[in-house]
Assembly symmetry: C2
Homo-oligomer: 203 residues x 2
């Protein structure tokens, strides 16, 4: 790739200004976990709570990204890596815009998540491990995918015939089999408050 | 590509809520024009004016996108089409987030710009044609690219040995050879006010 004619322009409006305007510290809440672990559900609940507190957010998930930005990608190993890379780069643009971005993807491999962590600024990548046992996920199976995978109709399904590499040091670990959706979301809000990503509002 | 297991989830927080929160109508201000026509400069000035009015914006340009999201793409015809497609999809995500997104890319081909227009909602795509004569751009030549192209050191350079297809019905036409940067930016702000993308603030 040629890059010799590319120069980085400073923008007139800075990331700090965009964040200050929104009264928050931008970050990426990167949800990772098995299919049916509750990633999208809990991310959605967190987004709603942040919205109600007046925060500016955006949720990227496999469904909206797969239909658009990554609509050209299939499901090969190479395509899966590129899928996560682009999502990471998109998340970086959203944090640059001053937003709190939530992402909900299985993202089974440590190396891919590490790549995204390295893309954004120190302290901006908050890994949220939806630590839900496989047995629980398989029992939920809202789309019947585990059943299809067990029947051999879906190949390379994470947890069945493709590995899920659990994070070793996720910033937040959520046990969605033990707590309700609201409680899980509150645990994440508490983390954001404790780490001054957002601030308690006094009425 | 398999899509049979992909289902679109409605998000708890809607585009309308995100836009309402920001007191603006999201849109894409898509700047198009020759190299050195003033796209990034005027887009930056518009962003600054919008910020000063309290609006929530983000500027995508060839430089920040080429280093990240589209860092894997070269400069073949195919790569150029994919470049614009991804930028369009990213812009769509930003409008979904409720932002006014500005993009500054040569984007020389009508078909590519039309593709992006079709991605977003009716009325959201605002094409800004930086209608600056080639002679003027070549005279400015801040990076010496026209000179390199004339010397045969750069191939497929828009305006020299690759066509620029001017928009036939751009929403906004800016004559950057006739007006200063501030005036050009004000013309765009006036359009946004007249079309109720943003609202006049009464102090």
């Amino acid at each position: 790739m040629e890059t010799s004619n590319i120069v980085w322009h400073p923008h007139p409006v800075t990331k700090d200004q965009r964040s200050e305007q929104k009264q928050q510290r931008p970050c990426v809440l990167w949800f990772t976990g098995l299919s049916a672990a509750g990633k999208s559900t809990v991310a959605g609940a967190v987004e709603e709570k942040l919205y109600q507190r007046g925060h500016h957010t955006y949720l990227l998930d496999g469904d909206n990204v797969r239909h658009g930005l990554n609509g050209d990608l299939g499901f090969s190993d190479e395509a899966r890596v590129e899928n996560i890379r682009r999502i990471g780069e998109a998340a970086k643009l959203f944090t640059d815009a001053g937003l709190i971005v939530l992402t909900a993807f299985i993202s089974p491999f440590c190396a891919d998540r590490q790549l995204v962590r390295a893309l954004v600024e120190q302290g901006e990548f908050i890994e949220v491990h939806m630590d839900t046992p496989l047995t629980e996920c398989e029992q939920r199976d809202p789309k019947g995918l585990y059943q299809k995978a067990r029947d051999g109709l879906l190949k390379n399904f994470t947890g069945i015939d493709s590995e899920y590499e659990a994070p070793e040091a996720a910033e937040i670990v959520i046990k969605s089999a033990e707590f309700g959706i609201e409680e899980c979301a509150d645990q994440i809000i508490d983390y954001l408050l404790a780490n001054q990503i957002i601030y308690a509002k006094t009425e």
